[in-house]
Amino acid sequence: MNQFEQYRRRFIGGALAATGAVMAPGVMLMQVAHSRAPEEGVSSKHRWGLLIDTSKCATGCNDCVTACNTENGLSGKTGLQDPQWIRKVELTNNNTGASHSLPMMCQHCEHPPCVDVCPTGASFKRADGIVLVDRHICIGCRYCMMACPYKARSLVHEDLNDTQLAHMPRGKGCVESCTLCMHKVDRGDGTTACAEACPEKAIVFGDLNDPSCEIAQRLATYASKEVRADLGLNTGVRYTGI
């Protein structure tokens, strides 16, 4: 083997090692992060949802609402015509007087009435359970708002005056609601703005289908409740403590 050949072999070996060194962390990270490539569709292997512990949720605390508004570019105004994707509901038991506080948003139903009634299919449910509005084909008929048992949807009544954020397109005359921070979910953040902001960690985001997930474990351990369970919609958002 002449000197040149030895040099050539060393060079190829070194190049392979370098390539391996560059690639390896990426490959390892992909395994760690479980995130999907942008061209890969969402999968029904996951069912994203929230578990809300109302016993930790404080009356008067509005942090989840503020975080949602900031994350999604909503004004935070609460007039009759202003959109609200998440709101704090204060409850008082009519018989006992016991009070509860909880956040209410789109419940991301398995059988969403808003999707049933939508004439164009603009209201739709992703394979991973997130219920969304396609702003390209929403005609603003508001039938979904009539159909939603949770009052989760809002119509954009006026010009948004360039307050939209790049990751959350909105539009005058279209209906909108909580997206379960799908841009964060798709990015692999593994949480939502409201869950992140809650000082008491009363909101837990996760995959209802993954037994190793905190949310699935808690649901399997503690009694939880769907709001309007009588409707049989199998919501993705569950509550404990009420």
Binding site: V65, T78, G79, L80, Q81, D82, P83, Q84, R87, K88, V89, E90, L91, T92, N93, N94, N95, H100, M104, P113, V115, D116, V117, C118, P119, T120, G121, A122, I137, C138, I139, G140, C141, R142, Y143, M145, M146, A147, C148, P149, Y150, K151, R153, S154, L155, V156, H157, E158, D159, G171, K172, G173, C174, V175, V227, R228, L231, I242
Partner: protein, 401 residues
């Protein structure tokens, strides 16, 4: 005597004033629609609580009345009562016109009216709205074919098919309109298939009332004879339909009153709902049912055609009150997310929702009405819709006096 249909001359000052007035109302309606598109629904009284407002009251009234307006033609074409045959072309024409007026309001109220056409190719087979796109188109087709077979003797063999088709289709159409609400599980006012039947019964009353008013106006304005026999038949139909509508309303509320979970809602509509309670009792029941029924039943007034006209006007006003109570009252009562709890939030949970219609909404709704009436006024001038005479000896020579 042979019945001859002839175009209305339509050259009088009154005719042009009518057409001009309706044209002005249509322009105002379009101006309102333009502004609602330009500024958004922020200029209306509608909000995220009352999402369907006054435009829907007018639109649903017109659409329901459209199928009912066909009733007079169906009595002739389907049930074979010859006395109604001369009255049938106007009936089919009015059905088409009312439906188009109602649809115009519905379309122009959309948040994105420019995208309405999307419903033609993005179809959700589970959506009642999607069904209605097919039902509305089909109804227009059947009613137009029906009108054609009545006016053109060369296509007479097709007449029974068109007559039966239109009759069956109108029942399906109004079922579809009722189910827009009937299939809403979320709200206490809705979520019952009873609404489909109620809307069919209401449609008979509302459509016939509008028919009577248009017929009387046309014959008065066109200076053509309109016999007492035709008026007697119309009056009898209206009385039967009032009784049926009252019965349907009674069954709906009795059903709710039997269910404890509906008591709060019924209390709201029947007792302490403010405007909605007033509109129900005074508007729908007294103005819409009781007074017209009495006017058409009492010996002193029942043979006076002006009283029948007044009754028809009151029925239309009662109908609008009914639609207001059904559509807006049904939304004003808050959703019950947590039965047994009092709810409070920044999104107006647990409280009666506020709604004050803006003048834009009045303009749009009345504009839709005007579209329907202008279509009729125009069509009776260019088509042979109206018999030259509906005097007793022509229209119904064998009627018992």
């Amino acid at each position: 005597m042979h019945i001859v249909n002839r175009e209305l001359e339509g050259n009088s000052k009154g005719y042009w004033a009518l057409l001009g007035g309706l044209g002005a109302l249509i322009l105002l309606g379009l101006f309102a629609a333009y502004n609602m598109e330009h500024h958004g629904h922020v200029i209306t009284g509608m909000n995220n609580q009352i999402v369907w407002g006054l435009p829907h009251v007018f639109a649903v009234f017109l659409i329901v009345a459209a199928s009912g307006a066909l009733n007079v033609a169906s009595v002739a074409g389907v049930f074979g009562n010859k006395a109604y045959k001369p009255l049938a072309p106007l009936s089919a024409l009015l059905a088409i016109a009312l439906l188009i007026g109602g649809l115009a309001v519905l379309m122009l109220d959309l948040g994105r009216a420019d995208r309405a056409i999307i419903t033609a190719w993005e179809v959700n087979p589970k959506s009642v709205f999607s069904w209605n796109v097919v039902l509305y188109s089909g109804f227009l087709g059947f009613a137009a074919a029906y009108l054609w077979t009545m006016l053109d003797k060369t296509v007479k063999p097709l007449y029974p098919f068109a007559a039966y088709g239109a009759f069956i289709w109108r029942l399906i159409l109004t079922t579809g309109t009722g189910l827009i609400f009937g299939f809403l599980v979320a709200r206490q006012a809705y979520g019952t298939g009873l609404l489909a039947l109620m809307f069919i019964i209401y449609s008979l009353l509302y459509g016939t009332a509008v028919y009577v008013l248009v017929l009387m106006t046309a014959y008065l304005g066109g200076q053509r004879p309109l016999g007492a026999e035709v008026m007697r038949r119309m009056k009898n139909m209206l009385m039967i339909f009032i009784a049926a509508s009252f019965y349907a309303t009674l069954v709906y509320h009795l059903t709710n009153l039997y269910f404890a979970k509906e008591w709060e809602f019924e209390r709201f509509i029947l007792l302490d709902g403010g405007l909605y309670t007033t509109l129900f009792w005074v508007g729908q029941v007294i103005i819409g049912y009781a007074i017209p029924f009495v006017l058409m039943a009492l010996p002193g007034t029942r043979d006076n055609r002006n009283m029948v006209a007044l009754a028809a006007i009151l029925i239309v006003l009662g109908a609008l009150a009914q639609m207001y109570v059904t559509i807006i009252g049904g939304q004003a009562f808050p959703l019950q997310l947590f039965p047994g709890f009092t709810e409070k939030s920044s999104f107006f949970d647990g409280q009666i929702h506020q709604y004050i219609p803006s003048y834009w909404e009045w303009m749009l709704g009345i504009g839709g009405f005007a579209i329907s009436l202008a279509m009729v006024a125009f069509a009776v001038k260019i088509l042979r819709i109206l018999p030259e005479s509906l005097a007793d000896e022509v229209a119904d020579p064998h009627a018992k006096k």
